[in-house]
């Protein structure tokens, strides 16, 4: 069962990744990428890294990919490339995405129902999924890197705002 789920997610993520790089329309590519990210989140959950799975869906598929989609819409890329045929592809994607979510939710539900029993077929250490262990690590051993990241995000914010700010004609 574990192996079957792994193979399912693996095949779906590879297929999605191929679509990301082959599809003509950027919107379809972005949606395929969201699909891949969700599959990878499923794999994380399969490995027992539930916090990472949640982060993957919320931050990556949620925030970063919305940024991508937003930019694609802002630049209005769809009108140039997206024809009649691609719209069908998008629809197919939508359904696949839905199924993926369904599987993922199903997995979590199943896990929630069987907690404590032996029906989960992989040995997960008690604390492997624990947010506590991760946050303890973040605020002790890896605090230095954590603090550097805060400066890094500041630089990214300043840079992104400076570059994309609209301005008058005379300005550089």
């Amino acid at each position: 069962m574990y192996m079957a789920i792994f193979i399912l997610f693996a095949i779906m993520s590879i297929a999605g990744a191929i679509m990301v790089i082959t599809l003509k329309s950027p919107v379809s590519s972005a949606i395929a990428l969201i699909f891949v990210l969700c599959c990878i989140a499923g794999l994380f959950a399969l490995m027992g890294a539930l916090f990472m799975a949640a982060l993957q869906v919320i931050v990556y598929a949620g925030a970063i990919m919305v940024l991508f989609l937003f930019i694609i819409m802002l630049l209005n890329l769809k009108d140039e490339i997206l024809g009649e045929d691609e719209k069908k592809v998008t629809r197919v994607f939508g359904s696949i995405l839905g199924i993926a979510f369904l599987l993922e939710i199903g997995f979590f539900v199943r896990r929630a129902l069987t907690v404590g029993s032996e029906s989960l077929m992989y040995p997960v250490p008690e604390q492997f999924a624990s947010i506590e262990v991760i946050s303890t690590g973040l605020f002790t051993k890896f605090l230095f890197a954590f603090e550097i990241t805060s400066v890094l995000l500041l630089v990214a914010i300043i840079g992104a705002i400076m570059l994309s700010k609209g301005e008058g004609k005379t300005e550089y």
């Binding site: 693996a10 990744a17 490995m47 930019i71």
Partner: protein, 102 residues
């Protein structure tokens, strides 16, 4: 039972697809998405190693948290430059900016 090798092979395949996309896409946004694929394959590695090698410390999982943050920062700056190129020069495709003059 999926072993460490399975995860490593999967991440290697995804990484290769990402590299291929990096080289084959001609649209700046598409290239940035291929790079996201590459970051994700590294993340699979980190989580898999942290489960199979040292599950008590979770070093790998913590590293992948940072990778997500950095990927976000890079995507934000990258997309800002794409917007800038589009707005000031009406360019989105890499072809138009003479990228191959290496």
């Amino acid at each position: 039972m999926a072993t460490l090798e399975h995860y490593l092979i999967l991440s290697a395949i995804l990484f290769c697809i990402g590299v291929f996309g990096l080289l084959s896409r001609r649209n700046a946004v598409g290239i940035l998405m291929s790079i996201e694929l590459m970051f994700n394959s590294a993340n699979i590695n980190f989580v898999a190693f942290s489960k199979f090698i040292n599950p008590d410390i979770l070093t790998g999982q913590i590293f992948s948290v940072f990778v997500i943050a950095i990927a976000a920062a890079e995507a934000a700056v990258g997309l800002a430059i794409v917007v800038l190129l589009y707005r000031n020069f009406d360019i989105v495709n890499i072809d138009k900016i003479n990228f191959m003059k290496w």
